[in-house]
Symmetry: C2
Subunit: 492 residues, 2 copies
Amino acid sequence: MFESAELGHCVEKSAYDQEVPALREALLNAQFDLETARKFPVIILIAGLDGAGKSLTANTLNEWMDPRYIQTHGTSDPSDEELERPHMWRFWRQLPPKGRIAIFDGSWYAWPIFERAAGRIKNAKLDQALEEVRRFEQMLIDEGALILKFWMHLSKDAQKKRLKKLESDPLTRWRVTERDWKHFEQYDSFQEISERALRRTSTAEAPWIQVEAVDPRYQKLIVGKTLLEQLRLRLGNPAPKAGSVQVAPAAPNLDGRNILRSLNLEQKLDKQVYERELEKYQGQFNLLTRHKAFRDHNVVLVFEGVDAAGKGGAIRRITQAIDARICHINPVAAPTEEERAQPYLWRFWRNLPRRGRVAIFDRSWYGRVLVERVEGFCSEADWMRAYGEINDFEEQIVNSGGIVLKFWLSISQAEQLRRFEERQHSPFKRFKITEDDWRNREKWGLYETAICAMLDRTSTEIAPWTLVESEDKYFGRIKILRTLCQRIEERL
Amino acid sequence: MFESAELGHCVEKSAYDQEVPALREALLNAQFDLETARKFPVIILIAGLDGAGKSLTANTLNEWMDPRYIQTHGTSDPSDEELERPHMWRFWRQLPPKGRIAIFDGSWYAWPIFERAAGRIKNAKLDQALEEVRRFEQMLIDEGALILKFWMHLSKDAQKKRLKKLESDPLTRWRVTERDWKHFEQYDSFQEISERALRRTSTAEAPWIQVEAVDPRYQKLIVGKTLLEQLRLRLGNPAPKAGSVQVAPAAPNLDGRNILRSLNLEQKLDKQVYERELEKYQGQFNLLTRHKAFRDHNVVLVFEGVDAAGKGGAIRRITQAIDARICHINPVAAPTEEERAQPYLWRFWRNLPRRGRVAIFDRSWYGRVLVERVEGFCSEADWMRAYGEINDFEEQIVNSGGIVLKFWLSISQAEQLRRFEERQHSPFKRFKITEDDWRNREKWGLYETAICAMLDRTSTEIAPWTLVESEDKYFGRIKILRTLCQRIEERL
């Protein structure tokens, strides 16, 4: 889920210096309009790891805008006044009135996440607390509030580096305490809990926006620009009607980096190495499916990728390895009449495998947030809610013993063109290329945005995406088989 | 919460026989239109106690309509096919396509409620399961489904009578097993769990409809008429846009009975008895507030009632009894400018008392679902979501040690008129009567509907409503003080 916030996003100083004056002016103007219209309050949550620049961000917003109309709230220990009332009382006190902005550092997420991290509550209790939070935010949205939730993320390496750097400098050494290193040791479990929290509370109306916290300039610009864009959107539009879905906030792309472009597509495998590895992993996979413990699990494999990325070839290398009786391939095309008369996930539910079986989906339920989004086959409200519905769906599979693997096969635009042309000129491949393929190709940029959003919102700790560099087919196929064997082995 | 379903609702045989032919014809026509339009599926849940006529209702709907286009699903033990897949798989299989009706007897609510009743899961886990259910239903609604959720209710007495009656007849004796009596012993805990389930899943779009299950004719007519009305509403309107709020289903009033009209307003107290009891309970209340354990709790008292029902007088009898320093009265009038700039519950949150204190609300947050609903000060979507928000609010107070008592003071229309006139003719009471009071009086019927809905949806096991027969002020005041003392004593 945090993959996109580990790409080394950064903004050059010169670019930053050039952008900030205009941004500040625009923010001030928007704040003035907000204050004048008094139509809705703005609630900004800044959450994430210690040391991920949360207070820096809050201070910057105060600096850039008129601080008289911004309230900033930390999450210190509750006062005795607060202790004697329901947990949420302190936050109700701190809510901004219409026309004002409040920034919450930590906010109502701090308590459930830290209690879980400390082991004082279990997952069921955590979910209960998160559900309370979700209802609270839903109420705020129904009352007209604009809520922006920023999650500041540092990779484990980046956090370690940051702590080391502070420690090595005599001037900042005092800032690193034993407690910080203790928290660092809990990094993995903290991330797992945070991911659960984000997944449960990233709703269509108030999704989390992840921000990589390595470069402060990048961090500040992302927050400032997102805030400006959302303010303008809401100020320009009439108040949303009760119960209607707002346009969901999304972060702008500042530096052109994204998770797809960060893949190294030049990775290759020799034919000889490929053949050796193929045999090895196919054999391993076959043995795993005959393992006694395999009977208690089912395997759901999802293959997605642009046209001609090599899904079919990769799938064949898997099916070759196992008994056809325990494996079923579901090629996903346009839904049938019967399927169109049901909720969109229905046709995938009906094809879930029994225990001890493998179901392969050649394209899948992700069509909703890819082709249906890009082509406008469903409304924005529909695909926005789909992320949560898909996460629910996969969680139910995993909770009932399923192993879910999702592969995104990635190739460059140039390689796609090469493969398209090859298909057109090869008599036995010509059926594989249609007008649609050429049309989709023209929408490469739109698809890229949709794919990145999909990876951000649905790569979860229980059903992560595996990105497969498929420029070289050999390399891609082996990566898929190796990942498959690893994940099944872990689970058995 | 189940008060309205314990009033002895019934329909005379002659009235029933007269109504049914037209209802059947109309239902058949609506079903035909549904099947022809194929715009949305209809999902009917029938839940509640064993023996509360669930299968009877399902059979009746099949008899009244064309059973070829109705699927009826019981909740038997899952098959081996179903056991090997996620819990919800069986229900996904059973979903009706657009244009069709499915009836679920028990449905996805059976498992969480029975697991909790058997003590195999705790409340946190129950809430987690209910939250999954809520998300599932939300998805169905977003996909366009019409969901009707009927809860068949029998009071404890009524269930006992039913079992005894079956047992006493040699022809039906075999139907009553030991298991039935064992379930009967769990009646109270089952009701408590059911209430929690209903509270968590009674959403604005798919609220529960409670049906008293004593008289089968009443039961069948309620279900049939509600279904017909909802079908007609949805068939007549264009498909709701994604994310928009549907008109919430509500049951029609068939026999003119409701919880307000069922009160015996003729109950009286002698002045002498009144004075003796007043002294007794005021003294008791005073002692309770000085109890050591009282310091760990706060008390929130809500007074609602039609104009001139005697709220002020009742409140004075309470404040007389205790130290003014620990008690605060909040007279609730139109919100201030500052309050209008916040969510509607904000002005009540800010007045929550600390521990060891008593807060009295003379009118309250229930204004949202009473005056604001009736006068159209907020949209239907707004007051529909308010029930859930209010339940959340009160649950948070109770969970943090609060004791919430809510009094509805009830008088007849004639008595109100008498008091209005008295006020107009008494120089020191004239300030208490305004044009508004006379206007409200004209909307008695609308208010009655709103009050009954409020009692149904917000009288919870943790914060129940007390209905106070206030035709005789003495009687009303003593009932309030006695209830107050009892509830505090229970909690300390």
